[in-house]
């Protein structure tokens, strides 16, 4: 298997790695960049546990090749918090008990962040459909949806204050 040298940006930092051409970006991130917050639940794009942003688009990193990340901007759960300050979604997931085992949590956080950036005031139905690509087997989604709703409200309040 021939390989590639990849120069990319992960959570704002320049990162370089070498990988075989057929390696998924998920494996590159986990095994070469060391970001194990990106999880593999299925490897086929059905569970969303490996959700990341690639040039600000939400994708499953298991459905991207590592070599395709060359020159791109990658965002993972490890980049959500601003230093010691959690992202409001992270705060609300803890506050609203939106996680049990926590394996799906990184993917949900990344997907929910993309949703709220695109739609600051989503309906319950919009939240549910936007998160349909993220499987959770513990919570029945109830508290996850509530945490996203609470975050949307918090963020709207914040942006109102600013303006």
């Amino acid at each position: 298997m021939s390989g590639a040298h990849v120069s990319t940006t992960v959570n704002g930092d320049a990162v370089q790695f070498a990988c075989p051409n057929d390696e998924s970006l998920l494996d590159s991130l986990r095994n070469r960049v060391g970001l194990t917050g990106v999880k593999e639940g299925c490897g086929t794009g059905d569970c969303g546990a490996c959700s990341i942003t690639l040039d600000d688009r939400l994708v499953c990193s298991c459905l991207v090749l590592g070599v395709e990340a060359n020159g791109k901007q990658i965002g993972t759960v490890e980049g959500l918090a601003d230093g010691d300050k959690l992202h409001p979604l992270q705060e609300n997931f803890i506050k609203h008990a939106a996680l049990q085992c926590g394996i799906c949590t990184p993917g949900f956080l990344v997907a929910a962040k993309v949703l709220l950036e695109r739609n600051p005031d989503p309906s319950e139905e919009e939240i549910r459909y936007a998160l349909a690509g993220n499987l959770c087997r513990c919570t029945g989604y109830d508290k996850i949806v509530r945490a996203v709703q609470a975050t949307a409200k918090d963020l709207r309040k914040k942006s109102k204050k600013k303006s």
Binding site: S24, G45, C60, A111, G133
Partner: protein
Amino acid sequence: MRYEAPNNTKAAATLLAAEKGKALVLAGGTDLLVRMKAGMLEPDLLVDIKHIEKMRSIAGGNAGFTIGAAVPGVEIGEHKALGKLWPGVVEAAQLIGSDQVQGRCTIVGNLCNASPAADTVPALIAAGAKVVVVGKDKRRTVAVEKVVTGPGSTSLAKAEVIESIKLPKRERSSGDAYLRFIPRTEMDIAVVGAAVNLSLSRGVVKSARVALGAVAPTALLVREAADAIIGTKLDDAALETLATACSAACNPIDDKRGTIHYRTKVAGVLGRRAALIAFDRAGGKR
């Protein structure tokens, strides 16, 4: 496996032609990478078309749209003019997978994957869409229904690559719709898909195309179903004839997603419902 990311279509075709082993086009990769991971495909060369500028955009308007082969679903969904004129095509594209998959998947990939259950194929066939195929030395334009020849197989030659999809000029008082049946609300493959595209003249269906997915080895263009509603105001009798024609056209299989009996029956139901939506979008009044 080699990985190449050329910046023009001709270069892509040349790379494909030159490879002695198995060469495949990588667009969104949402089907290809799954098959590679499962060991079902072991290509020697992947040609990534996402760096070809021409394939990355949507152009046109009423006179016809050109959708680049590397445009992901999410961008198709965000294109307001396209959604206004071709809501059926856009909703079919948007039904593929999750938001995550939308970030990568392409309608040309959906077509070339050659699954009988592809969502966009019936919608594109109903729309009368064509694809622009680029080979090493020549270009050709082919109707979408001529691309897929069977489950997993297409009429494309080894060194050919689809550059774009062309939607025809949109006439006034036209509408299209695509419906699929899945057991859940999201994330499933169509058990049955039905697309209807029609134009009205003084409230009467002037022309129509009806296409079905997941009920035969390839998506079907069902002329009898279209004939059933042409010249009508989509009265109940016409809808029933359309439904019967849809069911009659089915040649499905029993599998993990549905039974022959179920698919045959639901094809009629969805054909009827899609026709009603398309009619309404065209401004029709029953």
